[in-house]
């Protein structure tokens, strides 16, 4: 740029500052929670904890790890994610591949595409969904959490569009060499699909990790709650406590302890997301943009 004037330099500096502030606003709430989780309850309830712990203590973490409830629901959430992501990826790949063919190769393609698109447009709603699970006898079973939504249509479409955008010659060369559909899909397409697989895989993981509603609906036994559903009950208890007047010493003490205890559990609940995200992030823009929004 040959027009590097003084005004533009000032603009650049201001722009950098604003962007940094916005980014800080995205990070600081998490830092605040982290600081609260490591602080002594009295400082927290006095509103003195910002971004650094006061009266440093690991008590709330020890409590979370020893309580049983937290650890148990954490493990259930991991089990759910492993099962759920595996089912999601398998169903999405096996659905996207046939649907990426044109009607010459797969004459009924549009019928099946319509079958899936319709589920995006119309649904039975929450109550019939619950009654269905009840009738199928899936209440209190982990399968109630991982079997529904096995083909998230918009994510499947990302994979499908990506498969379509690949050069036809790749597959043709392979089929001349005698490779069948399964072989083509497995050893030729999947390796090139890594960016979009990472993207839809991340979405599937995030959905299964973050979803609390199906746990609240279909699991009646608190010892079988996945993490987010358990955290949600913590939150509700907390809100009830906050609504009671703070004059009662016992309530006050309980509230203080709950706040730091809850902060530690919230933070631990975030860790898997924060760990997985950077690894898939590099595929993210390519996978997302190439599949969904085309020019």
């Amino acid at each position: 740029m040959q027009f590097r004037s003084r005004g533009q330099k000032i603009f650049n500096v201001i722009n950098y500052i604003l962007v940094t502030l916005v980014c800080l606003s995205c990070l600081l709430p998490i830092v605040n929670t982290l600081a609260i989780s490591f602080s002594a309850p009295s400082f927290v309830s006095a509103g003195q904890v910002y971004f650094w712990p006061k009266g440093f203590t690991t008590q709330s973490y020890e409590f979370a790890m020893s309580g049983g409830k937290f650890v148990r629901s954490f493990l259930i959430a991991i089990e759910r994610c492993v099962l759920g992501v595996a089912i999601n990826l398998f169903c999405m790949i096996t659905t996207a591949y046939p649907l990426s063919k044109d009607t010459k190769k797969f004459p009924d393609r549009n019928f099946f595409m319509g079958f899936y698109v319709f589920t995006m447009l119309f649904g039975g709603g929450l109550v019939p969904w619950y009654i269905l699970m009840y009738n199928l006898g899936l209440l209190n079973s982990i399968w109630a959490l991982v079997l529904p939504l096995s083909v998230p249509v918009s994510n499947m479409a990302i994979l499908m569009n990506f498969m379509r955008s690949l050069p036809k010659e790749m597959e043709e060369a392979a089929s001349i060499d005698g490779a069948g559909n399964f072989r083509i899909l497995w050893s030729i397409l999947l390796p090139v699909l890594t960016p979009s697989l990472a993207t839809v895989g991340l979405f599937a993981f995030v959905y299964h990790w973050n979803d609390w509603l199906s746990g609240a609906l279909f699991i009646n036994n608190p010892t079988k709650y996945p993490l987010q559903t358990y955290l949600q009950t913590l939150l509700t208890n907390m809100r009830d406590l906050l609504r009671q007047s703070g004059s009662d010493y016992y309530t006050l003490l309980q509230r203080m302890n709950e706040q730091t205890g809850r902060a530690s559990q919230l933070f631990l609940g975030l860790v898997p997301i924060l760990v997985v995200y950077p690894f898939v992030q590099k595929y993210f823009t390519t996978g997302l943009v190439m599949g969904s929004v085309k020019g």
Partner: protein, 301 residues
């Protein structure tokens, strides 16, 4: 005729076999609940089931549309959704433009990564974090008090609560829009900028006359797609942040269904509201997809 079918099957059987698991699961779990819609026209009793419960015609619908509490949720849903679209789009576009002005790729990437993080945090955890931050003793109110103001009841004041929803949603989700808009900007032909520079256009001018016009189609596309989902104002967010004191301004259709239909066990009422929402939504979503296809060539399938 038969040979034609055979020919077709010979071509397709492998694809059908491949798709079978997804098809079966979708048939059971996505199409299965549609059968339950008949509850909306029954006085449903779980003990009697679909077959035994008495039919009541449109009575459930007449009932819900005579409930002020339900009508309020429709108004709230529209207001919250529209404002979320407006502010969400604005934030995404402005931030994408700002990032676009940063020429160094390293920092740009880091910034983009950071603002995308809140998207992946569940509303349960987010609500926990927000109750800490927005509480009377939370950071934000400490700042407000420090500046000499009175603490704001972000979560329990009726007038403030919808805006709390709108701005926290904007803050959580604008990173996604930013990624999309930034990707579009990267695709703009650099020659356009080069010739603009030769004509003496500064950065403001370039942004105003090249970048923004090139963004408009995709902004419209994203807005149209968002308008299709206007009846879903964010169940997870509202449910985890609201309380009875803000029902008049914060209760939305989905939370109403959950409370009335499942928590108080009025299955038929919940189903009727759900069906109403589903029908209106399907019209809105199809229209938005059609408009998006017609004017932007956007196709899901």
């Amino acid at each position: 005729m038969l040979s034609k079918l055979q020919e077709r099957f010979r071509k397709e059987w492998l694809f059908l076999l491949m798709m079978l698991p997804g098809l079966v699961l979708t048939a059971i779990f996505s199409y299965g609940p549609m059968y339950g819609i008949i509850m909306a026209f029954q006085d449903y009793n779980p003990g009697l089931g679909y077959g035994g419960s008495p039919w009541v015609g449109w009575a459930n619908f007449k009932l819900i549309f005579s409930q002020p509490a339900f009508l309020v949720t429709i108004r709230n849903t529209f207001f919250i959704s529209f404002m979320k679209i407006v502010f969400g789009t604005l934030a995404s576009v402005v931030f994408a433009l700002q990032l676009n002005e940063i020429r160094q790729n390293g920092p740009k990437r880091i910034f983009q990564t950071i603002v995308y993080i809140p998207n992946f945090i569940s509303w349960v955890i987010m609500a926990g974090i927000l109750t800490d931050i927005l509480g009377t003793n939370g950071i934000i109110n400490e700042v407000v008090k420090g500046l000499g103001g009175r603490p704001v009841q972000f979560l329990s004041n009726r007038g403030v609560f919808p805006w709390t929803l709108i701005f926290t949603d904007m803050w959580k989700t604008f990173g996604f829009g930013t990624v999309v808009y930034l990707a579009t900007m990267t695709g703009i032909d650099p020659e356009l900028y080069e010739s603009a520079v030769i004509d003496g256009a500064g950065r403001w001018r370039q942004t105003w006359s090249i970048t923004l016009p090139m963004l408009i189609p995709i902004i419209i596309l994203m807005t149209v797609l968002a308008l299709g989902n206007v009846l879903s104002a964010g169940f997870d967010q509202v449910y985890n942040l609201y309380s009875p004191s803000v029902f008049p301004t914060g209760d939305i259709i989905d939370t109403y269904v959950y409370r009335a239909g499942l928590q108080s066990g009025k299955y038929a009422i919940g189903t009727a509201v759900g069906l109403f929402k589903s029908l209106v939504s399907s019209v809105l979503i199809s229209t938005s997809l059609f408009v998006a296809y017609k004017f932007a060539g956007y196709k899901v399938f």
